[in-house]
Point group: C2
């Protein structure tokens, strides 16, 4: 890491992801010179934590980014649409955690373990992928390199924190209501989520898939730089607070055994293999998945529905607020500094 | 239905499924002459409900089945292993809800909407399939008839009641503990289930799949009477009390569109299609799935990862204690009476 330091802005600092960004910047000793927490006018002056320092949020609308080196955005697509180009024009490099710019051909979509080289092509904005996609491609990258993935059937088990802090509160309050014999009040999710599963995340598209499902199709291809990969997802919200889980069934061009996959994954950056075929010998979101940086992979096994050795199943668990959002954004910023901004920062 | 009446025994009457069997026999006006609730010596004399009648359980061990016409077993595989052949030898027809006899070639494995004709070949024992398989084959039967299913990728979201009443209590008590800032005590499931997902149901097999997963492979083939169907399941326990959900991705020999599938499913026995592409327009286990007889199907859509129209996705929800166990057993008994035992019962 360079000895230079950087002025950093976190946009959406009062949200679940913004809060995680500040905490991760501090815990990783990101080379911060000055840090600014930005939020809407409504949240002006709210206290947020950066390590053991307290920051008061400033208002995004009239913030001047000309002194900012790196701006981490996570305040919703419409906020990014309006303010990210403004920040980039003022000279900041934006790492945007919303879906707004992800599919634009000239904007890199980056998972540092998978396609760090894509950062080089940025024009001031780098997109952070969707949480469900990030953890899947981290696990699939070494397998794709070894055997070329042709098709993916994936079913997700996504935690409520993916819908933000209000959804975390909703699961807690609905659970408490039901445990006390009261009706559950529905506010964030489209149906009751306590003790339930909802096969619907983001909006429905004309083809019958949800936008969350289509993100896994579009983003997987862009990040793995292979438009021939076919992806068939079903995305489901489950009553878990933090960490997403995914049952990933892949089909490869070349044969790839579970043993080979396990070996490749044990060496893969950002991956922890947890795969004993015994009770507890696999990752779960509520235990291994929460508040951890790595993508956890278990239940690695040959697909018995294909008899040519070209199918493999995996169970992939990761913290959606960390690796699925805030951590990945910070890692993009770290890579950016290391590879591209090293000489541009401020003297330490 | 015949005017004759029958002597019925429910074995495992104090369990979650046994209790549901008694309740369903009463609510469907099953032609019962005399009914006996059987349980272990430990539960002798326990009161159980049959409609608004209270029954005291008798002890299975020394019960003489020679006066029993139909015995519904749901007290675990080892109990069925010991006592089902004894009941059958005494002249009763056993409908067994455990996995013990399911894979024996000369024992019919029956879902009445799918393969009622298989009952004819029974030799005193008819097996009731696994809950996850039942709801899937009810939804898939009309699609298999229309387009021949070749391969199934399925991921399950299974409720804790599939592990019995103690697992229902465990989810409630773990949830209460966590909501009150205490540690969750683990007793039934292999890991904490409250606010968590566990990719492990039943025991691990040598091929890396769990026995629950292999049941979906073996039983689907037997019930659909087609050993060429390839099935690739991942079975996961989720923090839901009642009803299992399944994301089912099928590949067919002949093209089958989502529109065609929707039409076929609307006419299919035991199926309710709930498939509007809008918030709430799909079934969920905690709402539509609980305490209902039908298998609910939604999220019907063409698989975009296959470009030849031979792939389809479905979301299938059903009450695992009712259609997945007790109701299916009672329906087998009803079919048995209607088709085979009509003249053998007792005068009404």
């Amino acid at each position: 890491m360079s000895e230079k330091k950087f002025n950093v802005a976190v946009v959406g600092a009062t949200g679940a992801v913004g809060e995680a960004m500040l905490s991760i910047l501090a815990e990783r000793n990101f080379p911060v010179d000055n840090i600014v927490a930005l939020a809407s006018k409504r949240s002006e002056g709210t206290s947020v934590l950066f390590g053991n320092k307290t920051l008061k949020t400033k208002v995004l609308d009239d913030f001047d980014f000309s002194d900012t080196d790196i701006a981490l955005f996570s305040a919703g697509g419409s906020v990014s649409e309006e303010h990210a180009p403004r920040a980039a024009a003022a000279g900041a490099v934006v790492v945007d955690n919303t879906s707004h710019f992800r599919n634009e051909p000239d904007i890199p979509l980056v998972v540092p373990e998978v396609n760090p080289h894509a950062i080089a092509a940025h024009n001031g904005i780098i997109a952070n992928p969707n949480c469900s996609t990030i953890q899947m491609v981290v696990a699939l990258k070494p397998l794709h390199d070894a055997a070329t993935i042709e098709r993916i059937n994936v079913c997700t088990y996504q935690s409520v924190s993916g819908s933000g802090r209000k959804a975390v509160d909703e699961l807690a309050s609905q659970t408490a209501s039901l445990m006390n014999g009261k009706d559950a009040e529905i506010s964030v999710q489209p149906k009751r989520i306590a003790f339930n599963c909802i096969p619907h995340i983001d909006t429905f598209q004309d083809n019958g898939y949800t936008r969350e499902e289509m993100k896994m199709v579009w983003e997987t291809r862009k990040i793995l730089e292979d438009d021939s990969i076919a992806v068939n997802p079903t995305c489901v919200r489950v009553p878990v607070f933090y960490a997403h889980s995914e049952a990933v069934h892949i089909e490869t061009r070349d044969p790839l055994s579970a043993d080979q996959a396990r070996k490749l994954l044990r060496k893969a950056p950002g991956v922890t293999v947890m795969d004993k075929q015994e009770p507890g010998g696999y990752p779960t979101p509520g235990e291994e998945g929460t508040n951890r940086d790595d993508v956890f992979v278990g239940r690695i096994r040959d697909d018995i529905s294909l008899d040519d050795g070209r199918g493999l199943n995996l169970w992939v668990v990761s913290d959606n607020l960390r690796k699925g959002a805030a951590l990945n954004s910070v890692q993009i910023a770290e890579t950016l500094i290391k590879e591209h901004l090293g000489t541009l920062g401020r003297a330490a």
